[in-house]
Structure formats: C-alpha cells, structure tokens
C-alpha cells in the first residue's frame, strides 16, 4: 500500500508536467487541427532557455520569465512565417504534420548544436520530504503546485475571458466564428502565444525534475500525445485528466506486486490508452467528430 501511494505521488508529478504540455498541444489542435510533432522540442527549448538564465547566475524563478517569453515568441513567430502562410496556401493536414516533424528535427538539432549532448541542471536536487504517506522532493512539490496553478489559470481564461471563449468558439466552428465577426487570425495568434508560454513553462517543470538535455521533450512527446488523445483531442480539460491518468498508470505499472520491469511502464500507459479508446473512441471528454 505504501509503495502504491508513493508510486501514485510520483505519477502525479510526471502527470502534472505532461498535463501542462498536453494543454498547449490540444489548444493548438482545437483551433488549427494541427498535430504538432515539434511540441516536445518546444518543451526542451523552454528548459534550455531557462538554463541560459540560471547559468548566468539568476535564480530559476527569475530565469523562467525570459524563457517563457522565448517560448511564446518562437511559437508566435512560427505562426507568422510558417503556419499562417502554409494554411493560406492550402496545405493539407498531412502536409502540416510532416512540416511539424521537420521543425521538430530542426529545433532539436539546433539545441544539440548549441548546448551539446550533455546534461544540465538548474541546481542540486534536495532531499525528499516525508509527507507521511509518501515522500517527494521540494522540486516535485513545486512541479505539482506550479502546474496546478498554470492549469487553473488556463481553465479560468477559457471559461471566463472574452478571448478564452473566442478560442473555444473557434475550436467548435471556425466558419461560424468568422461569421460572428471574430477576428480568426488574431485569436489564432493569441492561441499560439499562450501555447508557447505554457510549453516553455512545462519544459522548465520537466527540467526541474532533475535533468535538462536535448532529447528530453522528444522522449516525453508520445506520453503527451497519449494524454491528449485519452482525454479527447481538442479538449483542454480532457488533456488535463488524460495526462494525469497516463502519468499515474505508468508509475503504478512498476509496482512490485505487478513485477514489470520499469522499461515497460510506458507500454502499460499505452495499453490503458488503447483500452479506454476501445470503449470510448472519442476520448474521455471528447466529442464525436470527423477529423
């Protein structure tokens, strides 16, 4: 039992990181029907942007601010010079998907080129704090609290603000949004900026777990996709729930009573994904729709 609680706690930590990344991915998908394979490498970009700051002697919470701006700026800039022009030229979903894979490679190997293949750290990982039923490092606690705050902020924005409602409207029905007088290009740009900021933030959270390296976001990408799809693609709340399930499942899979090697834990998370989709093909919060 104790072991299970500890594994669930670990799962919530990784699930929190996945959720922050997954929400950014699903917001963009909801509006553009773009499956962005470069999303994982944007996490890495955010994590490294913060490394630059901490390397210069800044505390992480200060270094995070320019890093988040870099994430938002690069995603927004790419909408301006790449995604927007591509859509106006009528690029298909498959074209855009292939472009995003190319973009992922460019980003990743640019980071390899600049930072090399070494492992960076924001600082030493502190001793675990015993919470009675489980123990977590202070960094883990920051990850969970920080992610929850970010996700709460996104939910509040989507639910209460004019721009958030416009984002949901656009995700529901782009033509009708246009016919209602919503400036679709502007809302799209704002969505990218929010997704970029959120992704960089998620990258920093991922780095806070211990290590920053050029493949870190790429390694997490499939789990992010799993969280998004499990929750129902395009649904921000679904992405939060789905990511948490994926995070907790893969940690629980390593429970000694199950006896699986930890190399298989990702496989178990995907098994759960497949089982859920067999019962509910549109995902937990998703609507039935043709892509």
């Amino acid at each position: 039992m104790e072991e299970a609680l500890q594994l669930i706690a670990n799962g919530v930590v990784i699930g929190s990181v996945i959720a922050v990344a997954a929400v950014g991915l699903t917001l963009v998908f909801g509006i553009l029907r773009l499956i962005n394979f470069a999303h994982g490498d944007f996490l890495t970009l955010g994590a490294f942007a913060a490394v630059v700051g901490t390397g210069a002697g800044l505390p992480l919470y200060v270094a995070a601010i320019p890093a988040i701006l870099v994430g938002a700026g690069v995603m927004g800039g790419l909408e301006k010079v790449l995604w927007g022009p591509m859509r106006r030229r009528g690029a298909s979903t498959v074209n855009l998907l292939i472009i995003s894979i190319g973009l992922a490679l460019v980003l990743r190997y640019t980071l390899f080129w600049i930072f090399g293949s070494g492992v960076y750290r924001y600082g030493p990982i502190s001793q675990r704090i015993d919470f009675g039923l489980f123990a977590l490092t202070p960094q883990d606690v920051i990850i969970v609290v920080g992610s929850a705050a970010a996700l709460f902020g996104v939910a509040l924005m989507l639910q209460k603000t004019r721009i958030g409602k416009a984002m949901r409207a656009l995700s529901d029905n782009k033509d009708l949004a246009e016919a209602s007088g919503i400036d679709v290009n502007r809302v799209t740009m704002i969505t990218w900026l929010i997704a970029g900021a959120l992704t960089a933030y998620g990258g920093i959270m991922l780095g806070l777990q211990g290590r920053v390296f050029a493949n870190m976001g790429w390694f997490l990408l499939l789990l992010i996709f799993a969280g998004v799809i499990l929750g129902g693609i395009g649904s921000a709340y679904g992405a939060m729930i789905g990511s948490m399930i994926i995070g907790v499942t893969q940690e629980l899979a390593t429970h000694s009573a199950i006896g699986l090697p930890s190399d298989l834990k990702t496989g178990v998370a995907f098994l759960v994904l497949i089982l859920v989709l067999l019962v509910r093909p549109q995902g937990i919060m998703g609507r039935k729709q043709a892509l």
Partner: protein, 246 residues
C-alpha cells in the same frame, strides 16, 4: 419603395476556379423587406447568399450594401457593417452555453451585451430559461433559435438565412417562420433561401426564383405564388393546391 439596403448586380460566384455556380444574378433588398430566394436543388441559392456574405469568392458583378461597394469584402467587415448570417447547418457553437453563443454574436461590441440579452430573451423566452445549457445538447428547433439570436446580437439591418426550416419538425417550422416574421416586424430586413417555397413566398415582400444560377422569375411573393408558370415549375403543380395558404 423604401431605400435599397442591399443591391447585387450581375453577380457571379463559385467555389472552384472557372466553375461559376451563381451566373449573373440580380437582387435587391429594401430596408425592412422580407425577401425569399427559392428554386430547385442546385440552383445556386445557398451559394448566392454565401457570396453576398464573403464566404464564397465573387468572380464578377457588384454588391452594394448601404450605398457602399462591398463586392468581395471580408466577412468580418460585413458583420461590422450590419449583416447577420445564419448558416443552414452547424449554426451554433455546440460546446458553448446559450449565453456564450450570444456573447460570441456580440464579439465586436461586448459593451452592448446586457442590453441585447434583454431584448433577445424577450423575443426568444426559451433561451432565457436555457441560458446555461450547452447549445449542442439542445433540440434542432431550439438550436435554430440560438442561431437566430446569435446573428441578431449586433442589431444587424439585414439578416441572411440559409434554409432556416431545413431539418425541423412541422411544429418547429411554424415556430421558426413565426419568429422570422416577428424579427422582420421589428425592422430587420431578411433575405432567406428556402426549400419550403410556398411558406416562404406567402410571407415575403419579394421573391426570386433561381434556376441554374440565374434569375428566372422575380416579383412580390404573393404574385409569384399565383403565377401559373411558377406553380407548374417550382411549386409542384396546381393540383397540390395551397397557393392560398399563408
């Protein structure tokens, strides 16, 4: 005759390059008028209304709205100029509540929101009861009311309706047509495309019969209803009667 609100001359439009679906249409809507466009399937009725609203590329001819040339103008500009539009299908935001749907209708002028809620909930009382319900969970007839209310949020002077009665039960068809007449009686000009030709013409100030993307017959709604050629060709013959029904 009242002032002309919308005027289309020799309009040509289509989705695919080189293939015009609307092939030289003329159309006038005066302020406060209720105008119907009828015609067989594939006559280009919906394409006509979409081309007026910037949703289908215009290839030739002119469109003037309130004495301004708006030929090929982008949709959001036409919305700002005072045109509302209700598509035939997928005309609500399904995951948004009724209230949020209406809020999106007033996106360009959020300050008028509260005043507009008041008037529209008076016109559509059922929506006031369902304010917090998601539009996607409502019946077809109720969704159509949400769609109408959304399009009326900015107080348009012209409302474009693409087959407002399509897919509705007979009882709901009555409700929708009755609401359309109410909206029109408040001074909003209406241009609607309808399959339900008899009902549409009976309540229209003017009617246009479209065929192969061109004007075939034009005139006051009741005149067209009683025109033997229109009856034979488009209203299913005299035998079925109903020309008097209004």
């Amino acid at each position: 005759m009242a002032d002309v609100l919308l005027e289309a001359r020799d309009l040509r439009a289509g989705y695919v390059p080189e293939v015009d679906i609307v092939r030289g249409c003329d159309l006038d809507v005066a302020e406060g008028d209720l105008v119907s466009v009828i015609g067989p399937n594939g006559a280009g009725k919906s394409t006509l209304i979409k081309s007026l609203f910037g949703l289908v590329p215009v290839r030739g001819g002119t469109v003037r709205f309130k004495d301004e040339d708006v030929t090929g103008a982008p949709t959001h500009r036409l919305v700002a100029a005072g045109i509302g539009y209700v598509p035939q299908t997928e005309n609500v935001f399904p995951t948004l509540t009724v209230e949020e749907n209406l809020e999106m209708g007033a996106y360009l002028r959020p300050r008028i929101l509260e005043d507009r809620y008041e008037e529209l909930f008076e016109w559509f009382p059922i929506l006031a009861e369902r304010r917090k319900q998601r539009a996607g969970t409502m019946s077809g007839g109720q969704r159509q009311l949400v769609a109408l209310a959304r399009a009326l949020m900015l107080q348009p002077s012209l409302l474009l309706l693409d087959e407002p009665s399509a897919g509705l039960s007979p009882a709901n068809v009555d409700v929708i047509f009755e609401r359309i007449q109410l909206i029109n009686s408040k001074g909003v000009a209406i241009l609607m495309v309808e399959q339900n030709a008899r009902r549409a013409l009976a309540m229209s100030d003017r009617g246009y019969v479209l065929e192969m993307g061109q004007n075939r017959f034009t005139g006051p709604g009741k005149e067209l209803l009683n025109d033997p050629k229109v009856i034979d060709l488009y209203l299913g013959g005299r035998a079925s009667g109903g020309a008097q029904s209004a």
